[in-house]
Symmetry: C2
Subunit: 209 residues, 2 copies
């Protein structure tokens, strides 16, 4: 692979401070250059620039196209590898980013060196995960997959939003019996015995929020 060539980067982040910081840090690298720095994911999709890697925030303002959705479109149209750079390391975020086809997942509090290394790796189509994210994936893989099923996660998120069993049932178009069954499974999986405890545990384990 062309290790000596200059890596052309497109980045998008809705925080001006972060955008400027990334721009400055990448410019400071010998072998990298910033083609463009956008404030929204849409602009990345619209741009016809040919980059080696796209660095994308996961969460833009409400009503805005999310980083995951943008990643999906980029990879589907055969675009360059996408490196997600975000503040949060929740399970849900990581999973959605991975499912969307991101090659890497980095946290904004990463040291400069890690950032540069991750961009380099992503540009070469090699996975680049933040240490804490790797740790979390390991925990999930080793510690017997404390993962909830998609449906259970859906239920738990509504419960966390304060909905009652009946309300959850209505919103998911199932009977209250089903909701209770899901919750019972969630309880055993998380080792708790009440909805509030389940929400607290899931939040602690970064399964939701």
């Amino acid at each position: 692979m062309s290790a000596a060539a200059t890596i052309r980067v497109i980045l998008a982040d809705d925080h001006p401070v972060v955008r400027a910081g990334l721009h400055a840090l990448i410019d400071a690298q010998e072998n990298m250059t910033v083609l463009a720095a956008f404030a929204t994911a849409e602009e990345v999709l619209e741009s016809e620039l040919d980059a080696d890697v796209i660095v994308l925030d996961l969460r833009f303002g409400d009503e805005q196209l999310g980083g995951a959705a943008a990643t999906k479109q980029i990879t589907e149209r055969g675009g360059p590898p996408v490196l997600i750079l975000t503040t949060y390391d929740t399970d849900a975020d990581i999973v959605t980013a991975m499912e969307a086809g991101a090659i890497g997942y980095l946290l904004k509090d990463s040291p400069t060196a890690d950032l540069a290394a991750a961009i380099e790796a992503a540009a070469a189509n090699r996975p680049a995960l933040a240490p804490s994210v790797q740790e979390q994936l390991m925990r999930r893989a080793l510690a017997g997959t404390i993962a909830l099923s998609p449906r259970e996660l859906e239920v738990l998120q509504l419960v966390a939003a304060g909905r009652s069993n009946d309300e959850v049932a209505g919103e998911l178009f199932v009977s209250r019996a089903t909701v209770k069954t899901h919750l019972a499974h969630i309880f055993t999986k998380l080792g708790v015995d009440s909805r509030t405890a389940a929400v607290a545990a899931a939040r602690k384990d970064r399964l939701i929020e």
Copy 2:
């Protein structure tokens, strides 16, 4: 006020990306210069530099001196005005920053112009609050202080941690009847009718977490 003079800034943020971004943005301003950019609040306290304004993150890594504590020490020893720059706009964060004596409170997703204006204002010892923070203070002041009593907050935090009424009663050394009374008051104040909904509402209104 010396409007024409160059404003000397010290900044501290544990995120390398944000640090670089602030540095770049401030350097781009005609009338500002960065004296130093630190990764911890301690370094700011130890530095003997004479700045016109200190831009400080509120939350540094665990085990680290927080921005609020640092602000308190700086103002107590008659240091320059402190402008807090952070990601979170929770009630608790804003209040602690204000109590510590910060002259301004800005969010990291502020546009560049707001950031520059805030630094200028803070350097001149004028308050500089982010629009969303102002809004929140207004809401609190006008909308009749939706604040819970200290005891109620204590109860709600335990509930949010997944405790049952009995467990809360045990941990607070009161009867379960008292816990239920507190919860009933919390429910009416927040306009909800279940513990999970109360937790969700409180989190949304930034009363807890």
